[in-house]
Amino acid sequence: MYHIYCPHCAEYREEEEFHAAGQAHLPRPLDPDSCTDEEWGTYLFFRKNPRGIHHELWVHAAGCRKFFNMTRDTQTYEIKEVYKIGEKPSIVAES
């Protein structure tokens, strides 16, 4: 069970207060109407789903209700960092 540091509440809380909301840094296309079906389908469904370093969106649902980003190793479950919406990760997968 994860122990997650909420960057807004500035302390660790138990996983039960949070839930994951999928891959981070997936901006909505600015002009959806000009997207092809393939482009839109890719935005909707296709994901990196990496084994290893992953950037994902979490929300402190039972706490401050704020969304934030997390860099996490999906193999070891190690949380490398959390950072606020709009910020960039400092740890990225080498590939």
């Binding site: 509440c9 500035a10 809380r13 138990e14 039960e16 207060e17 039972a62 706490g63």
Partner: protein, 222 residues
């Protein structure tokens, strides 16, 4: 009222609808735990036990959303409430019957005497500049006070946050899961905690508190 609504059709529409939601004192409100009849439990129930429970009902609950970086807004809050907005996470301020709890970087919960909601809201609407929201949630929640030497034992069975005095000092406030519901939890004393719970979950939490405190003995305080 009718003038108010006809006014709505005129050129300068009001930004937000402020409403005095309270009837005359002749009409008695019913708190979320009305059906539990805590008052008679307080009279007939046990007088000693490790856990004491008291409901502070029918208070004024206001949820304020604004920009903690906006000096003008912070000043306005102080003018209205005589209290400075607590800016550091998980803190609260209290003066007399007025208190403010930090809920998130742009959200605070204000508690005040039950009859003052409309006055405070009106003051805010005249004093507060810029982008903000103020929502009356008085009917949606109630305040429970848990005290006694075993209060913390009941809480350790209900919430997963660390309640040790070294990390949960008096005045600290957290929004967290409470059993399978949620609550806003604040420490008021070494052995005294305050729970703010949602109306629709009140009966569940009441059952839960009875169950978890059974082994310590539950005393209802009037």
């Amino acid at each position: 009222m009718s003038d108010n609504t006809t006014a709505q059709e005129t050129v300068t529409p009001i930004k937000a609808a402020v409403m005095d939601q309270l009837p005359s004192a002749a009409i008695q409100g019913q708190s979320p735990l009305h059906h539990a009849d805590l008052d008679s439990l307080a009279q007939q129930g046990p007088k000693t036990g490790g856990v004491h429970l008291r409901e502070h009902k029918l208070l004024c609950h206001l949820t304020l959303r604004c920009n903690q970086g906006d000096e003008a807004q912070k000043a306005a809050v102080e003018r209205v409430l005589g209290l400075a907005l607590p800016l550091s996470p998980l803190t609260s301020v209290e003066k007399g019957d007025y208190s403010i709890r930090w809920l998130s970087p742009d959200e605070w919960l204000i508690l005040a005497p039950g009859l003052e909601a409309f006055d405070i809201e009106t003051k805010f609407r005249t004093e507060m500049p810029g982008h903000y929201s103020l929502v009356n949630s008085s009917g949606g929640s109630t305040v429970l006070e848990l005290s006694g030497e075993n209060a913390i034992d009941v809480l350790k069975r209900s919430v997963s946050v660390d309640l040790h005095a070294s990390v949960f000092p008096i005045g600290k406030v957290v929004s967290t899961t409470f059993a399978k519901s949620t609550a806003i939890l604040r420490r008021k004393g070494d052995h005294t905690f305050e729970l703010i719970i949602r109306r629709s979950f009140a009966d569940y939490i009441w059952l839960w508190l009875q169950d978890t405190s059974r082994e310590f003995g539950l005393v209802i305080d009037a």
